[in-house]
Amino acid sequence: MNVTKKFKGLSRELIALRVAGELEDGTYVNLGIGIPTLVSDWIEGRDIVLQAELGMLNTGPLASQDEVEQDLINASCQPVTELPGSCYFSENESFAMIRGGYMDAAVLGALQVSEKGDLAGWQNPSRGLSEDIGNIGGSMDLAVGARKVIVAMMHVTNDGQAKIVKECSYPLTAQAVVDLIVTDLAVIEVTPKGLLLREVAAGLTAEDVQSVTEAKLIVSPDLTEIQL
């Protein structure tokens, strides 16, 4: 669906802040690349342990220039720091714990999310590669393994395509795994009955959000402004 209307909503940083509000203390969380990475800025000091998929628990903030240790990076190849209680393990062990259901939540970016909670996030066909080739990375394991999958993304693409769709047209990351979608315009829960619009950005109506959403939204009777 090509979207003509454009609305101003949350910044990427505030999307991340809204996601941080969904994370519970005492949990283990994996943050994907992009907006999800920004979530870490909002949970510093909280009792949340971040996992880095290359083999680390309790990943600390990004390293400053003079803290850089080349053997200590996150999944985006950024130098990071450790925290008290950090521990290291192999990539294989890391994915054992991901598939094994030990991630209380994974926050992932997405290219498309369907009304059934299907997630498409690893390959944009516009790059022109064969549809079985691309950077799958850890996304499929995380999408399948995490107890709660939160998608953090912009509501529409830069060129005005809806990203919340009836059926994903891009190669899937996983089927029926998304629990919550947090965008610049809305907070939407994936329920057995469909997509439940729970929160909208300040100044927007449910109709505004629906107008840039291909999938049909069920408007919550308790619809509120996005809770930051």
Binding site: G55, C77, Y88, E91, R127, G128, G138, D141
Partner: protein, 233 residues
């Protein structure tokens, strides 16, 4: 047992044309760069390279492609994130031109296939990839309420791994997130060659802290600590 080789050239000298080689490293971390450079120099052709990526964070892998030594790549995150940068990537362009075969697996499946080979298992059922292009050509089977894909063990002829410390018997310890693929690739390789920053005598390492038991390592070669700024941008 003294598994120490005089240098990287001697360590990779016998890699034949057509060999499959697992190369460790998560982008820049824990990558046995000197062994890759030695392989470029050695020149073996028609190789199958089993590695997280084909270029990002590891330009020496690119050199193998430029050198036309690679027939096939088995990866989980092969390309630069940026499509623009991809346009200049030897591996991505070779794939587009049909000059490089490629198989891509989810990261967990990729490492588990290597782990299964090292552990003498033929195959395993994983939930990852069900309902995606990854399931193509694979057996899908229900256990309990969920569906799983059958994935086969992947046993490379060689594994190139990297360690912060190692003794002459091949016991290795890794450092922080540079551990990543090293333990399972070391176990999977028929011949495992370890590039080691600090080679010590047996008994110098605490046996409780070994990440790669020496039995998995056939050759040890001392290398200088590489120096780079971790980035894939």
């Amino acid at each position: 047992m003294d598994k120490v080789y005089p240098g990287v050239d001697e360590a990779v000298a016998d890699v034949p044309d057509g060999a499959s080689i697992a190369i460790s490293g998560f982008f820049t971390a824990g990558t046995p760069v000197p062994l890759i450079q030695a392989l470029v120099k050695q020149g073996a052709k028609d190789l199958t390279i089993i590695c997280m990526q084909m270029g990002p964070g590891n330009e020496d892998i690119n050199q193998l492609v430029v050198n036309k030594q690679v027939k096939k790549a088995i990866c989980n995150y092969p390309f630069y994130r940026s499509a623009t940068r991809g346009a200049d990537s030897p591996a991505e362009q070779a794939v587009r031109a049909g000059e490089l075969e490629m198989e891509v697996y989810p990261m967990g499946t990729f490492t588990e296939k290597l782990r299964a080979a090292g552990a003498g298992l033929a195959a395993f059922y994983t939930p990852t990839g069900v309902g995606t292009v990854v399931e193509r050509g694979k057996e899908k089977r229900k256990f309990g309420d969920n569906e799983y894909l059958l994935e086969l063990a992947l046993k490379p002829d060689y594994a190139f791994v990297y360690a912060y410390q190692g003794d002459r018997m091949g016991n290795l310890t890794c450092h922080l997130t540079a551990r990543n693929y090293n333990p399972e690739m070391a176990a999977a390789g028929k011949i495992t060659i370890a590039a080691v920053e600090n080679v010590v005598e047996p008994g110098k390492l605490d046996g409780d802290t070994i990440h790669v038991p020496g039995i998995y390592v056939q050759r040890v070669v001392k290398v200088d600590r590489p120096s780079y700024f971790p980035t894939i941008d």
